[in-house]
């Protein structure tokens, strides 16, 4: 969530502040030596001359742009922006964080006006009396330093969640791939081979030979022919190869359930029908 901060400054007040300052300076110079300084005082006083007013307008616009650039640091994330508009008023709109303290907005506006006036005066004097320009640059920098303080954030909102007890579990790190298991669907005569180790690759043979990584890779359920011995092994890089498991279903006389999955821990017999003679043996096979 963000907020929109809008600063409005009366442009005529800024113009007259600039003209007033230069008028005072010119009168001081004139008082020091009227004859010698009359011409200098005349030209350094920003009066109502048309070309002076145009220059003042340009100086104000430049100062406002500089202020907007300085404010970029305080805008809120990817939606942050600083826009300016100068007509009767000088309007500066910023997108700020939701935690911006609204109570600081008014002093921020006053400091923004001070910055703009002093930066414009710096631009006026830099080509006439550079030694005077330095003073206004310093005052603009001073105003900016206090502008920075007006962007203090409010404290973060109270969290509605609390820390729970940290729960940790310890599991043995497997060093060996799990033994492949078989699943047979009688209706379709499809034999599936699976392995509990994630990322393992299964290789199988259907001729009774010992499967290796050079054997056929298991990709999809096999169409099983009764009496065929399927042997499978599962491998994964970084782990020891699994035990070899085998599947044999000699017939399905009388129908029945699908054959059970064989596992490496012992025999399983296929059952489900009257004469269901399907067997499944899982045992380590010496390659």
């Amino acid at each position: 969530m963000s907020k929109s901060l809008t600063i409005t400054i009366n442009k005529a007040a800024v113009v007259e502040a600039i003209k007033g300052d230069t008028s005072i300076t010119g009168n001081v110079d004139r008082a020091i030596d009227p004859n010698k300084n009359a011409g200098m005082a005349y030209n350094e006083q920003a009066g109502d001359d048309d070309h002076h007013l145009k220059k003042i307008d340009l100086l104000i616009r430049t100062a406002v742009s500089k202020f907007a650039a300085e404010m970029a640091t305080f805008t809120d994330g990817s939606a942050g922006s600083v826009t300016t508009n100068i007509t009767t008023n000088i309007t500066i709109v910023m997108v700020v964080t939701d935690r911006y303290m609204s109570g600081l907005a008014d002093p921020l506006a006053g400091l923004a006006q001070s910055y703009i006036v002093n930066m414009a005066l710096y631009g006026w004097w830099i080509s006439i009396k550079p030694e005077m320009a330095k003073g206004f640059a310093a005052m603009a920098a001073d105003a900016l330093a206090y502008v920075n303080k007006c962007f203090a954030k409010a404290a973060p909102t109270t969290s509605t969640s609390s820390y729970n007890d940290v729960i940790g579990t310890v599991e043995d790190v497997p060093t060996k791939v799990s033994t492949p298991t078989f699943s047979f669907v009688m209706l379709t005569r499809k034999l599936s081979i699976a392995c509990n180790t994630a990322g393992a690759t299964i290789y199988y043979t259907s001729d009774g030979s010992t499967p290796t990584t050079a054997s056929t890779q298991y990709m999809e359920p096999l169409t099983y022919s009764f009496g065929t011995t399927i042997k499978a092994i599962a491998v994964k890089e970084g782990l020891e190869n699994s035990e070899i498991n085998s599947w044999l279903r000699e017939s399905n006389i009388g129908g029945g359930d699908q054959g059970n999955i064989g596992d490496a821990s012992g025999e399983q017999s296929g059952h489900g029908g009257i004469d269901d003679a399907g067997t499944s043996t899982g045992h380590n096979v010496t390659p």
Binding site: L5, T8, N10, A13, Q45, G47, D48
Partner: protein, 153 residues
């Protein structure tokens, strides 16, 4: 604001001044300066030349404000923010400068002993002209230095 110097009018002032000086001023021997100041046609033409020289001086010092110059007149125009209260004294100073210059030039030839007074007058008047020329009105102040406003939504 405009100031127009008409050389013919200033010439009459010069002649009047010379006439007064002729009646009142005496040289070191106590003699009236009547002979030194009698103006014939040729002398009157010389006075007019002196006035044009003076006008040239003024034009040089006020060049930023000169908007017209002819054989008969010199016109100065000031921006709108010039202090209009100075129009009369400024016009008078310009005219007086021309008179002082003409008298200085005249007496520099005829009576150098009293010429220096008019040289000093010329310098003082030119300084006054320059100061009054370069005097602006105070800038307009229609807006109060009101506090800027801010809103957060």
């Amino acid at each position: 604001m405009n100031i127009t110097l008409t050389f013919a009018d200033i010439a009459e002032t010069v002649k009047r001044s010379l006439s007064i000086i002729a009646k009142r001023s005496r040289d070191d021997n106590g003699n009236l300066r009547f002979e030194e100041i009698t103006l014939g046609t040729r002398e009157e033409g010389l006075i007019e030349d002196y006035l044009k020289h003076a006008a040239s001086d003024i034009a040089a010092q006020t060049s930023a404000f000169v908007t017209g110059y002819s054989d008969d007149t010199l016109t100065l125009t000031f921006p709108s923010n010039h202090n209009s209260s100075l129009e009369t004294p400024l016009s008078d100073a310009c005219g007086n400068y021309c008179v002082a210059y003409a008298l200085y030039s005249w007496f520099n030839v005829t009576s150098p002993g009293i010429a220096d007074k008019y040289r000093v007058d010329c310098q003082r008047l030119m300084d006054d002209i320059f100061v009054m020329l370069h005097t602006k009105n105070k800038p307009t102040a229609s807006a109060d230095p009101s506090n800027p406003t801010a809103s957060v939504t």
